[in-house]
Symmetry: C2
Subunit: 228 residues, 2 copies
Amino acid sequence: MFDVFGTVVDWRTSIIQECEDFGKHRNLDIDWSKFVDEWRAGYRPAIDAIRLEGARWRVLDDVHREILLELLNRYSILLSDSEIEHLNKSWHRLHPWKDSVNGLIELNKMFITATLSNGNMSLLTNMAKFARLPWTCILSAELFKHYKPDPETYTEAASVLGLNIDEVMMVASHKMDILAAKECGLVTAYINRPYEFGDYFTEFDQIEESIDYWAPDIESLAEQLRNK
Amino acid sequence: MFDVFGTVVDWRTSIIQECEDFGKHRNLDIDWSKFVDEWRAGYRPAIDAIRLEGARWRVLDDVHREILLELLNRYSILLSDSEIEHLNKSWHRLHPWKDSVNGLIELNKMFITATLSNGNMSLLTNMAKFARLPWTCILSAELFKHYKPDPETYTEAASVLGLNIDEVMMVASHKMDILAAKECGLVTAYINRPYEFGDYFTEFDQIEESIDYWAPDIESLAEQLRNK
């Protein structure tokens, strides 16, 4: 099971490109990298409010839209409903890292591959189509009404696949995801994506105890598992 | 969205083969075609008891197991738990009709393809892997706690994909599925599978009003949609 944003797709470069194209088209002079970083920065607090503070359940598309509306307001950008929808749906059109598709093809020769993302089902399905990600099946926090890193997300995903928790590997490029999955009893694989947030940054050492596999990309993970 | 049993996979031939192999291995002298037809005959009443008579929700694997246990008892066949599990899981190992995989590959060039089956998520996921069915995503009655032909199954499946109901096509080889989908406002395609139940039997005329497309197989449906 794969985390998607950052682990499989390069959301930041993709969204900045979408926003820049849109800004050019609309003649808007905005620092779009900053805009996108602020958009993403709104994600974790909104999800945690749902997870921990009893805020009502919303799918990620709705969370993204709420943050976007606030940002547009702050930047004094006035858009039509369909323009807002177009920008918000750019999260459905994310490009994979260059190893992701081939890595999944290799893994599919040995395993079932699934998403386990906080993205909603339609977002993940449209993205699978757009980015040609050959998942065996798509699983989302939406199905369990629990966002990662709630333990229910991991345990119910294993359960819906009819698998014991230790028969499932969580693949992610974020410490939070890895630690929560490990806590639940899943096997863990860390993919190092040092450019997810722009500048080089690496989160996890190869020697950390909570990771069972450490790989620079998904193709390399497939190779490690093939040679096991 | 595809119905799966009968429409995409030849469940009857597959299960009979699994049972015959098992019977040979165990030296059981049983008319397995009759056994399998009785197994399948238990399906609709059990599903309808859940849909219409307030019987508690169970996933299809559990429904299959209940019917199997009753049958084994009736046939005086004594099996171990792991043998029962193996037989029951034969519903996860169904072979596609010969056009199904290529038909889906062609449809995937134009559309998102998804299951919409009464089979549970793990059954459909394992079957996708076994039969190499390249779904964009897997949707199941299990997600909506409504079995087809309850309207909720169709409407909630469209909703989870973020689509309007008339943007979705239901592909099925059964009148019941087609009529219920049509009633909900989906586009419908009927695939004629005259050998699903063994002897030649065809359910739907090409001229029936409730079908928008009529095709002898999935490759032909893809061709019709490509040339539209």
